[in-house]
Chain length 492, copies 2
């Protein structure tokens, strides 16, 4: 199976596209730009969801559900946002199909079933949610509102790629309302940190926390915080954003509250989200020319056991041993799949599990039974060793932790080796073309320079890192003074 996978060095983009399909994660559908997330891909997404949901609840958030549709007029109320992606969206104009009188067996849109007001399939839910919050908020006693929604959203993208950019995608969007600016800012930062912790501890992806420049900010936001990851091809990927919305939405939707002093004030807001795009980041960070590599914390199956046998007796004997190993592992909360399909040979199973990134593979045959051993193979390093069955559950438990750490460390080393400080524009361009990765450079703070650099190099400012220190410098492009380095990169 993996034999057919294009090599990363040959064509990284093709490698990615093939991998997503061959590893049974997702595929394109009959609807332009929309994907089908297959069971194996969805199982990984479910693990992400479960963990994120736990983190959201631990920070005091509750889930709720708001309508899929947003009346056009609500976008008008919220003009700034409508200037952005809200325009490239799916618009519902009619509410009925009927048999086509001119074409037997065909359907047509009933011309008499036109909606009075068009409905937009939500590209994000600020408008409908703030229109709703208006009814929920009267006094400071009603605040804060800390709500998250798991939902599908649609943005009419012209060029799509599985997980990375699709017309419909799955995501979560947090929408909070606060009595004070300070509280809303703290929430914005808190959620960006939650995202960073999730990316690093579960996805094993090192990320840089920072703040976007005005040009890269969400249209309705005062400040957009983000986490930025680096893919193996040296391109950056924005993995999550958390917006401090100030009072913009409260003003657009007239949401006021009576504060403790009895005065009326507009509510302060945040919104924050991550999406199925994270699947793309996960795949591109760890996988190799043999296929998917999954961190144990997100692998649907952490261990797969493949029996090797010629006779039914051998199979029965193996099954007995496996059954004990499996339940010992499960007692340690390790997910194990016993691949006892008789429609595939061991070699084909090995190839499939390698392609699908199962962190650890156990193979067990008649000789192992005699010796009280199994063959244990690590997906990330592609190494194998014969180990004793005695105490294997502890060994595997430790090994899964090791793999999780090793994957993070490997990605971090790669990422750290791909942050280059440069002082002049020529070097800047050379680094972007040859070494790739993040380039840390001084910038004069203007959108004009930012755009010019983007035009000339395709690199954008990914973020102003939280830990970027204040230092005197000169903009690599204009030479004007700068107080701080920012991170540039070509990005997904």
């Amino acid at each position: 199976m993996s034999k057919n996978l294009t090599k990363r060095a040959e064509d990284y983009s093709k490698w990615y596209n093939e991998l997503v399909v061959k590893a049974d994660l997702a595929e394109n559908s009959a609807v332009r730009g929309c994907m089908v997330i297959k069971p194996y891909g969805y199982a990984i997404w479910e693990k992400m969801q479960a963990e994120l949901d736990k983190m959201f609840k631990a920070t005091g958030h509750q889930n709720a559900y708001f309508p899929l549709f947003v009346p056009k007029s609500l976008f008008e109320a919220e003009e700034k946002n409508a200037e952005g992606f809200a325009k490239e969206c799916a618009v519902v104009t009619h509410y009925r199909l009927q048999n086509d009188p001119d074409n037997e067996g065909k359907l047509r849109v009933d011309p008499d079933a036109k909606l009075e007001e068009e409905l937009v399939v939500r590209p994000t839910s600020e408008a409908i949610i703030w229109n709703t919050y208006k009814g929920w908020i009267q006094s400071y006693r009603d605040l804060p509102i800390l709500i998250n929604q798991w939902a599908n959203v649609v943005r009419w993208e012209m060029r799509t790629r599985l997980f990375l950019r699709t017309a419909e995608f799955l995501w979560q969007e947090g929408h909070t309302a606060h009595a004070t600016e300070a509280e809303a800012i703290a929430e914005t930062e808190q959620m960006n940190t939650v995202y960073a912790d999730f990316a690093e501890n579960f996805m094993a992806i090192p990320v840089i926390k920072g703040v976007k420049t005005e040009s890269e900010r969400f249209a309705g936001a005062i400040d957009t915080h983000c986490i930025e990851a680096l893919m193996q091809d040296g391109k950056a990927l924005q993995a999550g954003t958390s917006h401090f919305l100030g009072q913009n939405f409260a003003k657009a939707f007239d949401v006021k509250f009576t504060n403790k002093e009895g005065k009326q004030d507009h509510v302060w807001a945040t919104s924050w989200g991550v999406s199925t795009r994270l699947m793309g980041a996960l795949i591109m960070t760890h996988s190799d020319d043999q296929g998917l590599v999954l961190p144990p914390n997100l692998a649907p199956n952490q261990v797969v056991i493949v029996p090797i046998y010629r006779s039914d007796e051998q199979f029965e004997a193996i099954k007995e041993v496996v059954s004990k190993v499996k339940s010992d592992l499960e007692a340690k909360n390790i997910t194990v799949k016993f691949d006892d399909r008789d429609t595939f040979r061991p070699g084909a199973k090995f190839a499939q599990h390698e392609l699908q990134g199962v962190p650890l593979r156990i193979a067990i045959g008649p000789k192992d039974l005699e010796n009280g051993t199994v063959e244990l193979a690590r997906r990330d390093t592609l190494t194998k060793e014969v180990v004793s069955i005695e105490g294997i559950e502890d060994r595997i438990s430790d090994l899964l932790k090791t793999i999780q750490e090793d994957l993070f460390n490997k990605a971090q080393t790669f990422r750290d080796n791909h942050i280059t400080e440069v002082e002049d524009f020529e070097t800047f361009k050379t680094i972007l073309e040859t070494k790739t990765g993040f380039v840390s450079a001084h910038w004069d703070g203007t959108a004009e320079t930012e755009n010019k650099i983007k035009e000339l190099t395709k690199a954008t400012i990914r973020c102003i890192p939280y830990d970027s220190k204040i230092e005197e410098g000169n903009c690599i492009y204009t030479g004007n003074t700068s107080k701080q380095r920012v991170l540039f990169a070509k990005a997904y």
Copy 2:
């Protein structure tokens, strides 16, 4: 709070509508027919989802995700279904909004951004899924496919009611593919039984398992199995359906496989679903004039603790005791909320928790501290008793089980008392108008009679129960021979 709730006897329908809103479960949105599911309502839905998901996985199913949109032509391929509700649906015709050149500050649909083919927001996913399965199935080795999807769907209903009938609703839809007819039928029955078990053991709602008549069947199905519940107003509610689809969809979408004998055959299919409608059933089965009554197995908070105090010292002393009680309860997997808000008085808290159906309420004041007691109140019976704190975790654990059983038994007694066998049409009509509930009667098996009865009485055949025994009889309407009683009722 509950003081303002309309009484069931006065106006059952109004009582329901008010209760849903006052108990903070859901509300109508700015989008006609679409609801906002509020955090408290969503928390109950999440508990349902979690339990159902576990049951689906225990029976071998995996989750996946398919596109929100279905191209119009796929509905044409699947004509029979399109004849049904697929016609009253949301149709996406355009993919862009733009500034209206004639109206500053307004948006309009960009007339140049018309889709070549209209997209229907899924009313159900058979069409898009079977069009996808075609690419997944070649041989019997690819079968069965056992997939479930959690999703939102849209049906353009003219008259909507929160949870019971909304334009957009949340549901799960299982779509399975099998090599044999027998296997698909077994799956259909299995999932109907899963639904019945869930309804009875978690929702505490007794249900009747049965099969629909042809008129009441899902358009694309050979057989529709269902579970039917009875609400307190004597109207039936279909709580879940499981369809045996035969080879209809495989034929419509040309999905063939090579069987073990090497021959080509069409694949056999099932689909099955439950939706946020279950929330309506849950509310209407157990709640009373004081508000919501929740079975402990689905209550977001099974126990609420309200402190009663005058001074800070009293509060601190209570808090210390509560902290121990809470952790003892949580150690038994009981969810407990300590309502320590200082913005509300105990009376207001009591009213709110009563309205929101928290199964058990503990009140604890200074006198209780002296005596080592608390006041324990049951929501279902509205009874209170003073009990010792000593061993309270066991008492509560037992009591929650008792409440769960009592709610089921109460609903079952009511339901059983509302199944009336009748032999003639006059009695039939009288029962429907006076006693209400299910009427068990002979029917001649024709759609014509069924329609006539519906026209005259508004009652429909809810199902032919699995346990309806074969017996000679005469149709209550035509007098023609009948082999079996069926269950009639007015229904939601």
